[in-house]
Amino acid sequence: MGGGDKYSVLLPTYNERENLPIITWLLCKYFKESNINYEIIVIDDGSPDGTLEVAKKLQEIYGEDRIVLRPRAKKLGLGTAYIHGIKHATGNYVIIMDADLSHHPKFIPEFIKKQKEGNYDLVSGTRYVGNGGVYGWDLKRKIISRGANYVTQVFLRPGASDLTGSFRLYRKDVLQKLVESCVSKGYVFQMELIIRARQFGFTIGEVPISFVDRVYGESKLGGSEIIGFAKGLLYLFATT
């Protein structure tokens, strides 16, 4: 599939000792089935639960050319994790995704196909269009998600349906340029990546994905996250 193309998956991890083997197994399975050249770059931020040790065992199973370890000493944030990962990526395309199994690798061949169809600079997985969707959210979470997305669409008109999603395929040089120009953190960082992409005239394709949330009960979407989102939205509204 695609002569000479190589896909680097950036996998920032923090306490993913149990999920990392599964996501690796799934990635390798779907890449192999579709005959895609790939590498998985695990960026572990000093997880105290032994994630790095598990990653080393996975390296023994799948090979050091497929599982690349680029750990960091402590939790340093997603933006810098991407920069760090890109520096070591040998592919010409980069895939960003979560390591907690909310994003399923089976969509990656679809991302790749979509990218080739439209020669897109980036392909974004969307939960809001087509047969995209979510599992594991209650009514309150759905309302917050759709509400926030609506407000973002009205004020920023981004040209992409899912701004806070983090399951995407980028051309490596495109992601590099975008990360260097973004200043936000958290949810807003993912939003800013898309907004800046539009600003720079990059083309965006979309693929519906399913998002399986198994940590909803444990993760927080409290007042501080909402305030952070509003501040970030205001910043993007005023500067782009």
Partner: protein
């Protein structure tokens, strides 16, 4: 042009004439006849926008696709992965 500037421009384009009418700077038969309606127009527009927005969000929440199949598939594949990895030498609890 940033989105902020776009919105400010739009607001000025609407509120300019409105202010002129409401302060009687511009005054004619039409504005006299419909003065109350013109006065209330911005409020009505904002309220309508609010109602339409709530309706859109409610519709999208109601039709939010729930991926039960995806969850089942994942559960199945986690089991499969654990068994296969065990064979390859990695034990997961």
């Amino acid at each position: 042009m940033t989105k902020l500037v776009e919105w400010l421009t739009g607001i000025v384009l609407i509120m300019g004439p409105w202010t002129a009418v409401v302060t009687n700077t511009v005054k004619n038969e039409f504005t006299d006849q419909y003065f109350m309606y013109i006065l209330l127009l911005p409020l009505v527009l904002v309220a309508m926008f609010g109602l339409v927005s709530v309706a859109i969000i409610a519709h999208r929440v109601y039709n939010f696709n729930v991926c039960n199949d995806a969850a089942e598939e994942l559960t199945r594949q986690i089991k499969e992965a654990k068994e296969d990895l065990k064979k390859k030498g990695l034990k997961i609890d």
